[in-house]
């Protein structure tokens, strides 16, 4: 944005400078032509006689005119032409600068400047368009661009005698106008012909040299030409370029001369020139090159700083992210390990408790019969009365019976404890529960109603054998400890709490006083209901089996109201890790 602004600003600056330059050039043209006008005026007032228009009878002028021509370097010819168009006096400047009186006079009656001047009145001065000099009807070579100043001459009696003509050699003027150019410079006349063309010198004055193939300014830049003809001044931009123009109307330009202002003479001239500069963008760029360079360097420095800073930032950010990722990974690892450890710890706690339980069973339940046995044996050996010894036999039978039962129960228990690699499978709970229900007569004959609500979840990863055993034990308990005074039911329901699968088995049976028995509920050989058969093995086995597969069981009960067992299953994981 800044660079565009600088560009436009600089182009404006250049346009303004160029405008001044063009004004100066226009002034130079006017200043150069001023002497011609003054000199012509002088000669138009000169008292010529008819004799002066006789060929080669001008001795009296030769010297004065010769001196006058010497001082005016740009004057190439001074001539008198009679009213028939024949030259009667002809001073020329030769190539080497000498002034000579050319005796070879020519007829100019067909030339424009002659015709035009002859029609003018006594106070008129004519300035011709820029032209190429012709001698004997042919364009002189090398080309001599000339502007002719002329005026009609009258005798004292007011009789028209002929005309006076000064040829102004425009070569030097054109050269100086084309000096030190910074842009393409053109001078075109009112018809759009090139009078001067800095970029294509061969186009200059082509309308004289090669009128058939002339390609003037109007052809190369038609749009600009149109704009110029609409009397547009100053600078403007179109698709043909960026233009600075100055219009030079000769008549207007000399109006400030005393001669004209004071009405001593008036100028006849159709000359209207356009002085034109085409400012190329390259020029503008060239002039602000350093500016741009500085801007570029500053930008580069900024860019470098930004790149450096952002690079550092990115590196920092990457490092940070890397570090954070590392931390996250480590944390995840730690968390996983923590979860693993927690699960292992829990499992170990369970194992520890189970081992204690086992120890307890062995200590109490196995030791009791063996100590009794040894006591009995010592009593037998201490007795001499056979009749007395006979009474010991049933006692010994009782002991061996209880030891057998205990050993069998222990085997079941130990099998569960050792069964770390118990086979689990994805099992559908409904068919397993239904097949278990069919084992109980009280359910089949309708003594106990069973409500199943197994919609919330239907499958579980678990051991089928354990699941069957657990369900059978709990249903068996519910039936065994039902309240015969009530219409009995068992509700079995699956649901979820905190994404964990819950299985609840509820009855409206006798219930149990948990304040007394809660800590004993799931222990071996605990019985809580008098007069009802029960070995105290069922709940103990249920809990052991559940714990071996990471599940938990809890109980809620009110005496006389009923009991609900709530089993919470957890994902079986890290289980294999513990097998060793």
């Amino acid at each position: 944005m800044l660079s565009i602004w600088i560009f436009l600003n600089e182009r404006n600056n250049i346009a303004n400078l160029e405008q001044k330059e063009l004004e100066a050039k226009a002034n130079l043209v006017v200043e150069s032509l001023n002497p011609v006008i003054s000199n012509i005026y002088y000669w138009s007032q000169y008292e010529f006689t008819e004799a002066d228009f006789t060929a080669n009878h001008h001795k009296k002028f030769e010297e004065t005119l010769g001196d006058f021509m010497v001082g005016m370097n740009q004057y190439s010819q001074f001539r008198l032409i009679n009213k028939e168009g024949k030259e009667t006096f002809r001073l020329i400047r030769t190539e080497d600068g000498k002034i000579i009186n050319d005796k070879i006079l020519q007829n100019k009656e067909s030339r424009d400047y002659f015709k035009k001047t002859m029609q003018l009145d006594s106070s008129a001065i004519y300035v011709s368009p820029l032209n190429l000099n012709r001698e004997f009807g042919e364009i002189e070579k090398p080309y001599h661009p000339v502007i002719r100043g002329s005026a009609p001459l009258f005798s004292e009696e007011g009789q028209k005698l002929g005309i006076v003509v000064i040829n102004f050699d425009a070569k030097d003027l054109l050269n100086s106008l084309n000096k030190n150019l910074t842009s393409s410079f053109f001078i075109i006349d009112e018809n759009g012909n090139f009078l001067s063309n800095s970029s294509q010198r061969n186009r200059e004055l082509e309308h004289f040299i090669n009128p058939e193939e002339t390609a003037g300014f109007y052809k190369a830049n038609p749009e600009t030409w149109k704009t110029l003809n609409r009397d547009h001044q100053g600078h403007f931009k179109n698709k043909e370029g960026f233009w600075v123009t100055e219009k030079l109307n000769f008549k207007n330009a000399v109006s400030h001369l005393n001669l004209i202002k004071g009405n001593y003479a008036h100028l006849e001239s159709s000359n209207t020139w356009f002085l034109i500069s085409r400012v190329s963008n390259l020029n503008v760029l060239a002039s602000i090159e350093n500016f741009y360079l500085a801007l570029l360097i500053i930008n580069l420095i900024f860019l470098a700083v930004i790149v450096y800073v952002s690079n550092a930032e990115i590196k920092h950010e990457l490092l940070k992210r890397h570090y954070l990722n590392d931390l996250k990974e480590k944390r995840n690892k730690l968390e996983n390990q923590n979860i693993l450890l927690t699960s292992i710890q829990k499992k170990l706690q369970i194992w520890n408790r189970q081992l204690k339980e086992y120890n307890n069973i062995v200590a109490h339940n196995l030791r009791a019969p063996t100590t009794s046995m040894s006591a009995l044996v010592s009593m037998v050996s201490g007795s001499e009365d056979y009749e007395e010894v006979k009474t010991y036999i049933p006692q010994l039978n009782k002991i061996t019976g209880s030891i057998n039962t205990l050993v069998q129960d222990l085997l079941v228990y130990v099998r569960v404890l050792n069964d770390d690699r118990v086979r689990t499978e994805k099992l559908f709970v409904e068919p397993v529960i239904k097949s278990s229900l069919n084992l109980f007569l009280e359910i089949v004959d309708g003594t106990v109603r069973v409500d199943l609500d197994l919609q919330e979840w239907k499958t579980i990863e678990f051991s089928k054998v354990y699941f069957q055993s657990i369900i059978q034990n709990l249903i068996s308990n519910a039936i065994k400890y039902r309240d015969p005074k009530k219409k009995c039911f068992i509700k079995i329901k699956t649901h979820k709490v905190n994404k964990k699968r819950i299985l609840s088995i509820e009855d409206n049976g006798l219930g149990i006083d948990l304040k007394k028995h809660e800590s004993e509920m799931f222990k071996l050989y605990r019985r809580f209901h008098r007069n009802l058969s029960g070995r105290g093995m069922g709940l103990f086995l249920v809990k052991t089996q559940l714990e071996s597969l990471n599940a938990e069981i809890e109980v809620k009960s009110e005496p006389g109201e009923g009991t609900i067992f709530i089993i919470t299953f957890k994902k079986i994981k890290h289980h294999d890790l513990l097998s060793d």
Binding site: T371, M379, Q395
Partner: protein, 138 residues
Amino acid sequence: MTFFLIDDDQVFHFITSKTLKKINPDIIVEKFLDGEEGINRIKNSLHKQSELPDIVLLDINMPYLNGWGFLKEFQTIGDQIEKEVQIYMLTSSDDPEDLEKAKKFSELSGYIVKPVSKEELEVLIRNFPSIEWFQPNL
């Protein structure tokens, strides 16, 4: 002298009562298969304290009401008992947790690991009523 044997082990009942009879045929032995039976018998005798036992041998592990449960029930009726009743905890294991627990019950007079020998029973009888904690073989 009256003994209450509270234990679900009938062989223990047999052996102990036999041993007690040998020591002194006049000793009265009452047998209960669980804590509930035992405490009910005591509660029923509160109005006739002479029927209360002198010595109770109490097993820990029993159905319906275990030894600890019995002791808690006994505490609730403790101030209604005027007779000197000495309770000894019996256990088939030498579990130190049980021993610690036992020592916290002021109602207990000792802790005996099964089997209970004739000599130990003789000490109990001879020293009755004892103010010392009785804990043989430990």
